[in-house]
Subunit: 219 residues, 2 copies
């Protein structure tokens, strides 16, 4: 169901607030489109920003990694985090240096990180990641071993509040510059796509590309 | 000149350390290839991760924005920051869920943020940004006004230490899984490119695309 986060000062977009949105539909669309997230936390007054794959389960964001990872060993104890998902959509070239800009979609989400406890819950969360990325693949892989589940930490964060911010479209120049400046102006759109899948050299050459990889067939 | 950062515990890569590099050639190559960076800092025990455009001047990383920006108003007072640049190079599909992975190039750089002071130094830094992205464009735009320079904050961070981490290539499965599991396995390479430039609707249709936009002509 659609819902709007009520931003506290930490989440409220101060600059260019006409580009902000706080409804979860906007927030989820960007989180789901981003290939990776950047997780921010600090240990002993030192900030860290770690990139990682992610997936979403309703209002919960998840990531995973080795149980020996510095980030995950810190986050599992209930650390405050900021998770940022950013999609760079291109450069915006204006007639003055000042009005140059970027087009982008970004979310900054805030919450407390916690570890998913228990083998069944961990495995269900990991299964959901695979199901989200490659629906149907799980049945083709071999199952997890006890040791593999043990060696994996899954971190979950309920999104307490979040702000989406986007810019799109042409430059917004000062009115008189449209008449007097001859520099080429417009957008350089960035594209994030996939090239043709590359089979593992050790894969049986007769093994077909499964249907769930159609979105990754390249262009 | 080539140089290698000596990582303290904060920068040393703990997991999969064979994928780490600390020489500035590796670090700079990734910083320069990334379209944006993510800047990590904290205010009152709340971490923040802000995406932004960036440029580099030797061992110094720079970013800029409105003087009213929450991030920039905080960073200009000498805050410890972690700057992360990440390029997602694709998914790696293995025969077990556990060995699924991503290919990527990432840098985590550490230092203290400071504000560039004085109109001349600020303008020189901003000019360098334009020169880095679009060589030759500056001469075509109108010049900066006093007010525009005043309204812009430029933040600089000398890289005290940094770690690059990369993964590339096919999955690394358990030996027996190569024989017994039939799931398609390999790489789904991500591509980050540009589409054809889109002229501002208000641009004189006779205005040609300048040479410095050749890298952005799209494919």
């Amino acid at each position: 169901m659609s819902k709007t986060y009520t931003p506290s000062p930490r989440a409220r977009v101060k600059r260019a607030h006409h580009r902000a949105a706080y409804d979860n539909e906007s927030v989820f669309a960007i989180l789901d489109s981003a290939q990776i997230i950047h997780v921010g936390y600090f240990i002993d007054d030192q900030p860290y920003v770690t990139p990682t794959l992610h997936w979403r389960d309703g209002e919960t964001l998840l990531c995973h990694g080795s149980s020996a990872s510095k980030m995950l060993r810190h986050l599992r104890h209930g650390a405050p985090v900021c998770v940022t998902a950013s999609i760079f959509d291109g450069y915006v070239l204006a007639r003055s240096p000042f009005h140059h800009s970027a087009n982008y979609r970004t979310v900054m989400a805030y919450g407390t990180a916690r570890m998913v406890e228990g083998r069944a819950a961990k495995e269900a969360a990991l299964d959901r990641m695979m199901q989200t990325l490659f629906p149907g693949r799980l049945a083709e892989c071999r199952g997890n071993t006890e040791q593999e589940i043990k060696a994996t930490t899954v971190i979950t964060m309920t999104i307490d509040e979040a702000a989406a911010k986007t810019r799109s479209g042409p430059p917004m120049d000062d009115e008189e510059d449209y008449l007097t400046v001859n520099a080429w102006s417009g957008e350089l759109p960035a594209r994030h796509s996939y090239a043709r899948p590359v089979a593992d050299p050790r894969l049986d050459p007769g093994c077909p590309l499964p249907d769930y990889l159609n979105p990754y067939r390249g262009r």
